[in-house]
Point group: C2
Chain length 333, copies 2
DNA sequence: TCAAAAGTGTTATCCTTACACCCATGT
DNA sequence: ACATGGGTGTAAGGATAACACTTTTGA
């Protein structure tokens, strides 16, 4: 196997680190600065280079640079996806003399300890800030019908004949328009649709860069369309959240985000924060019980504001044994 | 982002191409030959380099070189995993002067047309040949208890105290020993276990290479332990099949493997060939019916050997609409 | 007429969904 | 006593798993 050309490849690693923070699901972000110390206005995911001469595996390299960059030790980690397409502002990097192609390998990491103060360079961002339309916990977000649907409609109308209907169809399916069901795990497809439709500010930026124009002033937080991120990081984040939401349904990943002891309400809040949909209390508990993955400790948590709640722990030993696993989501209403 | 060293990275692409062939699920393999035309004794997956200067996306590069190498046009394609660990015989490649680190991006591809004659260089291999223990269609494979379980037992006994029990536990869960349930989608974990336990010939080879010894004569097909492949290709294959089996249960991927018209029995045979478990006829049909993904054509297929069967087609339009999707597997017995 | 495969009916059981109500604490 | 969450009971409907039987062809 020989490379056909002199263009070198650089492999970058990025991490979607998810944890609970003050009852909200949050991701670890960094404010990148260039070599002159100028700090970017937009946040990014922790990312770093993979050194082919030194790093034995991607995962070890990832753990090392996240610890170095953010002071954070990762627990549960899994590979997400490898991004190599041109034109999504995963652009050229300088390497000695000349430009290199950057390929970035994204990872998803979960941690039960998302505490610790934010520093000037790192912060935990409630991920709903990046994707406000993904939060259905208090019902269908108004912005979907007020802003997103009209925007997509406009975009569909720009297309010729057959294409317009196909675009509308996609919009309907993904954003649950006209009574289509909401599929919470399709986070990436929704983001991609908004990107294609030009509703994500990253799209305009990438187009400008591709055409050699100056990138427009980065847009800031928009309550309907969310907060953009540097490079293709919001896309990687969407990939991670989609994967996490899907995984919730067939693997006991929720427990990678809990402290060692927790109440069932806290667990439910957690699953709701990740999946973005409200759950039916009793059915959630019954489903949990059926899995046998959780064990009451016989002790109470008094700080609930009402009746004290029983504390539970995750019975990890039983996770491997039982036939099925993973929670399912008895959606409320 | 700057590379820390002078070691270059080369990106390779590999494809797990799955199709039905004479009623069996098969993967497309190539017999690699070196520059002198000497052909390897072992089969490999189609693989090729990614050219950072020419190729816009991984997927386009993949389609191009698979077509070139095997004459095959791919249909449905999805990225599997990116393999970059050292020591799994994804070893160094020659690049001009000096060695490069090879990172390989694996893809899964499905095709309804696995016909066409084998050539000297390419062949469709029934994938059960690589993983005989994965075929439970005619009941629990005898080799599991006769060969694999004792082998794993020996391996566990080599470990000290606590470790031995952990190894046994893993073996029990993955290979359904002592009444543990069989989880058909854990193809990769099972292969990895066999590799760690030294029951896959690839392990001895990789150890020899890592220690600078000559690689042992490649072992050939073993009816219990399967047929090894070059490099880490059997691992990539296991990743692909595990993914495919899992996906069967929540996405309508089975139809990417069918011809445009098919009988329900043929579809059932197909799902059984992929998942490796026997299915309950009527419950399979009922489940299918519920999804509404399939439409009778009102015509019959006479060549069944018994009563003619009704022909169906996949109603792709309906796939996007309906709430759930994917078949589930009503396992027989 | 018989083998071979296609195709159906029926039931018990379990899971899911949904409704409504009771319990224990702090103020 | 009442507000605030924690924590049940129960019943309808639907999905699953398992049973065995009928139908239609070719040899």
């Amino acid at each position: 196997m020989r490379p056909q050309s002199g263009t070198p490849v650089v492999i970058g690693l990025s991490a979607v680190v998810v944890g609970m923070r003050e009852g909200e699901a949050a991701v670890l972000t960094v404010k990148p600065h260039d070599d002159n110390g100028k700090v970017s206005a937009l946040a990014g995911l922790p990312f770093g280079p993979f050194d082919p001469a030194q790093d034995r595996t991607f995962e070890l390299a990832l753990r090392a640079f996240v610890a170095e960059q953010t002071g954070f030790e990762l627990g549960w980690v899994e590979q997400l996806y490898t991004f190599g397409d041109q034109g999504r502002d995963a652009p050229l990097a300088d390497v000695g003399a000349g430009a290199a192609r950057v390929v970035s390998v994204g990872y998803l990491a979960l941690t039960p300890r998302a505490e610790g103060a934010d520093t000037p360079d790192t912060a935990w961002m409630p991920w709903v800030r990046a994707f406000p339309w993904e939060d259905w916990r208090r019902g269908r977000p108004a912005a979907i019908d007020a802003v997103i649907a009209p925007g997509l409609k406009r975009w569909a109308d720009e297309a010729g004949r057959g294409a317009a209907e196909a675009r509308l169809q996609r919009a309907r399916q993904l954003f649950a328009l006209d009574g289509a069901p909401w599929k919470e795990e399709r986070v990436l497809d929704r983001y991609e649709l908004l990107y294609e439709a030009g509703l994500a500010p990253e799209a305009a930026r990438d187009r400008a860069l591709a055409e050699g124009r100056a990138a427009p002033e980065p847009a800031r937080f928009d309550p309907a369309l969310g907060e953009p991120m540097i490079s293709d990081h919001r896309r990687i984040l969407a990939t991670g959240l989609g994967r996490l939401r899907a995984k919730l349904q067939y693997r006991p990943v929720a427990f990678e985000l809990t402290p060692p002891e927790f109440t069932l309400s806290a667990l439910q809040k957690l699953v709701e924060a990740i999946s973005g949909v409200p759950l039916h209390k009793q059915n959630f508990r019954r489903a949990l019980e059926r899995t046998g993955l959780v064990e009451p400790l016989g002790r109470l948590e008094p700080d609930t504001g009402g009746r004290p709640a029983e504390l539970y722990r995750y019975a990890r030993e039983r996770a491997a044994a039982g036939p099925p696993q993973g929670l399912n989501l008895p959606v409320l209403r």
